[in-house]
Symmetry: C4
Subunit: 510 residues, 4 copies
């Protein structure tokens, strides 16, 4: 029986038959009830062959689905390797080893707080950390190297303090603003984050629904778990979406993607410029290791395992040669406004203005790329005075992302000159923990916080915000302090409050 090219067969394949092809020499896998011959594809797999071979002759759907959009196999695997439908009843269900970590997680899920107990964006993260699968949590939460920038992103906002004004009529507060010509109800957008199905089986479309409800823009990620069209199809009415783009080495593919996005109504093209190579995220790698690598003892440096976590698995197509010279071409192939996502110094903002793009996102990729990159908000505080000095501050729109968790963070960014801010992980965590209601409540909490804090800073609309409302003197101080005086701390007897008293009458009772 020859299955090659046989994708119109009536007779379904059996599990038994597929199970024979369980080696590097002949490797079949099942995905979503269909079988595929991936033998020749093994060496090309961006995530390395090892992870595929783990499922050779078996059903790989559970591992495959969250990290590949549904149209991946159609796009990347020769039709001749599509073997056809499988009679899933004949596929042996694998007895999974009882994973004590997973059992504990299930218990935590059973006891998870109800949605009303979440009072701020941090709370969703606290819940997600407890209820998400370990590997999914590791992928979402990890950052580059020592995760210094990852944490600095939010921490930087703590170095900015307010100079509120009082006795201003703040009865009605208008949070709305305009981003790339679109009126939105509050100055944040849902920024692009990869692999939404790791957190929720429906993936990025949940965010589409949340964004619609709160009238904010969603940026569609190149590396979504849902296909681009699925996410666009979810759009309703005059809802606006943008596209985040990793530029492919093959510009024809890139052109196709851009043209398709424009045709489907995307209103902005955000070219990621901070990721010529996707970052090493050791937390992610360590979590992945326990899955695939734990019983292999390699001998030396040569064989350093390159299948390092989810990030690497999905990004090998990105073009590290992308440069300023490419911008005219981008401007020529689309009418969408073009923005550079990941700019990190004032010189490059000025160059972007010269290059004729419509905006930049000051971003360090959520702390996932270059550790010790400064926070977007710090770069913003450096960029705007210089642009004002040069009379360039009205030339483009400037966005910031990274570390935004509170409405005060949004207000700080706007005070310093941002048009708006991107928020990514917090909505992923809300979605992972509570689905759409979580995303909905997260956005509502931000609105509630922002309305109140606008009142308290003394501004009734966002156009009133400006640098005179913030004190940023501590913002660019990156100090670690002198290493601790270990012996001194050890001998110091800390002060304590009054001790409990055991009065006779109490003592007798106890």
């Amino acid at each position: 029986m020859n299955h090659n090219s046989n994708n119109t067969q009536a007779v379904k394949l059996t599990g038994e038959e597929i199970a024979k092809h369980n080696s590097r020499e002949s490797c079949w896998v099942i995905v979503d009830g269909r079988a595929y011959d991936v033998t020749e594809f093994l060496p090309e797999h961006p995530g390395g062959p090892k992870i595929i071979l783990k499922y050779a002759g078996k059903d790989a759907t559970e591992e495959y689905a969250p990290i590949h959009p549904p149209d991946t196999l159609d796009k990347y695997l020769d039709k001749g390797k599509h073997l056809g439908e499988v009679d899933m009843k004949t596929v042996e269900k694998e007895e999974k080893e009882v994973d004590p970590d997973e059992a504990e997680r299930q218990e935590r899920v059973a006891r998870m707080p109800i949605l009303e107990q979440c009072y701020n964006l941090m709370d969703f993260e606290a819940v997600a950390k407890r209820v998400m699968k370990k590997t999914a949590w590791a992928y979402y939460s990890s950052g580059a190297d020592d995760e210094i920038t990852l944490r600095e992103n939010h921490s930087a906002f703590h170095k900015i303090w307010f100079r509120p004004r009082v006795l201003v009529n703040v009865e009605s507060i208008d949070l709305s603003t305009t981003m790339l010509g679109t009126k939105v109800s509050i100055p944040f957008y849902v920024t692009a984050t990869a692999l939404g199905k790791l957190g929720n089986p429906e993936g990025e479309v949940v965010l589409t629904r949340g964004a619609r409800k709160h009238n904010v823009i969603q940026m569609i990620p190149t590396l979504a778990s849902c296909s681009f069209d699925e996410i666009v199809d979810e759009r309703q009415g005059d809802q606006v979406q943008w596209l985040q783009l990793y530029v492919n080495k093959n510009r024809a593919i890139t052109k196709r993607i851009i043209e398709h996005a424009e045709a489907r109504g995307c209103k902005g093209l955000f070219i990621t410029v901070d990721a010529p190579q996707l970052g090493r995220r050791e937390k992610d790698m360590r979590s992945k290791f326990s899955d695939v690598g734990s019983n292999v003892q390699d001998a030396g440096g040569d064989s350093v395992d390159r299948s390092q976590g989810a990030a690497r698995a999905i990004s090998s197509f990105i073009d590290p040669a992308l440069c300023w010279d490419d911008l005219p071409w981008f401007l020529s192939v689309t009418k969408m406004p073009i923005l550079l996502k990941g700019v990190q110094r004032v010189e490059d903002v000025i160059r972007a203005i010269s290059a004729g793009v419509h905006g930049v996102v000051l971003s360090n990729h959520g702390g996932r790329q270059l550790d010790f990159a400064r926070s977007g908000i710090e770069v913003l505080a450096e960029v705007m005075p210089e642009l004002r000095r040069l009379g360039l501050d009205k030339k483009i729109e400037i966005y910031v992302d990274g570390g935004i968790r509170r409405a005060t963070d949004i207000i700080k960014a706007l005070c310093l000159g941002a048009t708006g801010v991107g928020i990514g992980r917090p909505f992923l965590y809300a979605m992972s923990a509570y689905g759409l209601p979580g995303v909905d409540r997260a956005m509502q909490l931000l609105k509630d916080e922002m309305e109140m804090n606008m009142r308290l800073i003394g501004c009734s609309s966002v156009d009133q915000l400006g640098p005179e409302f913030v004190d940023t003197r501590g913002l660019s101080m990156h100090t670690t302090g002198v290493p601790s005086d270990t012996l001194g701390l050890d001998v110091y007897d800390p002060l304590v409050g009054p001790r409990e008293s055991f009065r006779p009458e109490v003592r007798s009772k106890l």
Copy 2:
């Protein structure tokens, strides 16, 4: 039997009868032995209907009393809804669920330190934290958002260091000063704090007595648990009180309050300007949640529960439209000196001087309103040099509140130019833990500390204090430090002192 308007009845209502009115359709509650029909009032309740419905058909006194002044029902509920006295013997005592938290608290109360063990204001807080009811503690101790400003308030004083002078005759120390024309024995006043009965069944009158004993001024809060008149009635001799005012949307009410206060002898009117909307305090909300919300799973963002803690419950009347244009009216309706409480930038101090008010309180509302508002003491250090530069420093009196826990804090504020400081929470904690003796001792400790520290700084009276005695170079640095080097700290082997020696002769004995 029709009880409508029947408030002269001889026959008392029975618990059984009231218990029938236990729903949204007909909701009666008992307060202080009298029944009220609050069915129509439910949607108007500032704290939301949910908390009232919890007591529908039951005795609500315990919950009601600490957070409503005694004259509230007379003022806000139509007389026709006053149903008359209840025969309390007929009201079923509710079997309270045994609350393990409460049982533990009672044990802590039994073992609480005696008053003499409190050596400073922090000690009262340490005791209060252990012996207060959880919800009361949460209401008093909570702050806005991440409680950064809450903690910064005291922390800011730690950034100010002394430059004491020596060899000055400090045999006799005079701590007295004059505030708005009143001679006081030490330069602090008891600032306004809400809901005193949460901490002590007698409420704010305890503070009145303490202030009298130590000859300091009490500022009466709008949101006291005692009624304004009760607090004024407690005054004796030439004791002086001020009024803190939340401005009502209905200016007629505001006018009545001001005129009444002036008539009753208040010597200063402090208009709160930092609270157009009362703050979200998540610690308070979380504590409240466990009371009322825990078995309700809401579906989405729309239904975000608005009954968020005690703060919201009591503040819906405040006018967010209050602005500078309103000041002439205030100046026209009273002869009391008017001060703005909650000013936070030098520009607004200057504007306040132009507006003709008599003073300002540099304050961020104890960290309960806008998180990342700077401390009053930091603002003071910014304000005074600018006022001196403009020749305005003698035009008004400047007060500071927030974070004052030590006499050194008071001295620092006076060195920087404050006329005096307000102290709030510490006296609440002293009162909650030990009643009047606690307040008395707290004030005495401050006097003892201040007398000593005046000697040590080399000043025998408060008018000698000035900026040359303090080093404030670190005051306005708001830095967080680089996020910790997790891996590095993990591998570092800290130095330790000498280990115990097990000499043979010792070993043999053990």
Copy 3:
């Protein structure tokens, strides 16, 4: 039988007889085998009557000895109240309550590290903390208020970094220098600290012996446990001592003390100017409380207990009126060089020069007086450039004390312009833990450290040290950092190193 004035009796008093005088009305106590009638003295006792009444009718030696020099009763109690010798066999030995703290301490003493295990001055403190009596430790180790200055004193040295030079011949190192004309072998002196017998039954004479061995100067404290003459008698050869002086309200007494000191050969008079009133040290007070106060519930602020720890008990004679005008008198009554101990600002150093004194000690009294006083080393860094600017830097000798624990600290002080440094607590701890051998080793360790560090900084003698060897840019930054991001820290998942591997072959073995 009348014992009044009967101090030549042959018949000894009996315990039984004394035990009758156990009240405020008639209060006798035994000290060192002799009885005293202190009834009339009770109200005058600087430490308050309560602590004496605890021993009314009993033997008070153990409590009395460490905190009173042997000649105290002769000096302060009328001879008529000296009742004569007691037959100690007849005095009932008090059954001491078994104190579990004390039992644990005894165990720690049995296991204490041997002297050779102490490699630095911190190590002695670590041992002393474990083996000293709780109240003695509390007295030595405590500081003012929040003990911020106490800790800042050493911490300040951590803000000073070296700029060493290399390729200098450092074969032989000369640590010697000259202080007030005396050649010493290393630039530190043993500064005055009170109540040496709390740590060691022999008291300050142990320090005399240690100082002699290492050829350094000892400053004799006014509040020593040994009498002044005992300490001077212990001197040998050309050993040099200085006198630390608390100025008595009665200048006649002060004059007598000074003249006696000069007559007995003291070579310097250090007048303490930072202690018009001795500090409140809450750790000391809390430790004392458990001794005397724990079963007394006082009612209010009036009765704040004034017998607050050892410091207060011994200092009531100090004159808070001492001022600059008194200095000519001091200069007139002695030929000893006069230095002011406790100067804390450059203005006062300049005034001291004008006043004609011979030196100052920049000191905050070991952090025991005014909290938030800056460290002596920080003041030094402020003082010297100003003196150099005015051409006054050679006019007097400048010393620093507070927080010196390492030879690098001494070198830093000398680089910044100090003639020498005072070291107090570390030698007390060494003495308390190990007696004279401890003091000896502590001094030797400092010499070893200093010789090495002189080599490493590239200076072969102390006169080569100068400001070009230190970087003090961080010295005067008193910042606290933004309060911690509690929620953020809570959700952050710290990076960890590789986990243990349970390979099959390992697992099978375990």
Copy 4:
């Protein structure tokens, strides 16, 4: 029987015979199967006699081998004291006391992570800490005094942040550079560290092999466990080595060493100038103490034990008189480029240029010499602008070592002007934990990290790096922060996320 000078004997010595010579009067020891009479050598032993006497009459090989190169006895012990071979079968195997620490360590070794679990250089340190012998770990990991500089070295890099540029073609990255004329594949070298056999029985030759594989230079340490020739013999092809030199008091020996190194092909001579005396490292001393000193109670300061850890034991020959005047002689005796290792201030760099040397290493000896010496990277940031101002920046090559753990650290050093960086401990730890494969992987990880981070900073070759890519504003801030507010922290109730919910349906299941 007389064994003197009898080193050609056929009859082997017996253990019984040797065992008789077990005292200070006659002390024989066995090393590597041969006996030696060290009686007369005892007082000369740099590490003190005590440690030798511990093995008097016994086999000392295990203790001796890691800290003495194999040719030591030949070089330093008179041939007449070489007693000849020992019949090892006759030597009594000592019953070692069961050491619970060692047993636990063996368990940790059995469970040690596999090499693939190490993702960065910190990971090797984490593993080494767990699996190395306590004394070896203490020797490698310890630093001077409070180990402040030890930790500052890495911490300083955390104060430097990136200003990356985007949209640069970074497809191919060239990490290679040239050091002293040698082309290397990445800009680090393996710096000199002593006593490699403490971590791995083969010692420094393992590092030779690792350096060869990755085409980087190894600096051979004077104090290696392997002999100089063993390390050179391990070299292959055109592999390049440098020599680190401690200058002997006897210049003839020094000259011999230099000439030998040059003859054997060393391409650079690094004279250590920061160690006129080797540092006190208390962690090392404490660890050593438990070996030799624990049952000796010394009486006083005189007898401070001078055999303080491994550092002292091996360094007594170093000349503390070495100075600038010696440099012409060094330049005259070799054609190798000469560099000064351990320079720490800009003045000395300028002087080095005048003196005609070819380079300097800005270093504080890994934090092992002078505590509070600044990090090399901080000194570099001070040095380069000054050299550029004087037009001297091209005159010499400048290297930095200390604290380098990440490729970002290397990039930062190069941005600030270093030609390359030295890395020491990390490779020792990799070697100690995993041998050559560990070293190999450690170097490969650095290459992987550096390639990625070059891309992310926007530079495709190391010559493009420059100061415009880094923000060093926080680098020279050495602050400690105000000592913590102990009482305040104690009473603060930290915010926490949502608690677990025990809904009825959950409660019933649990």
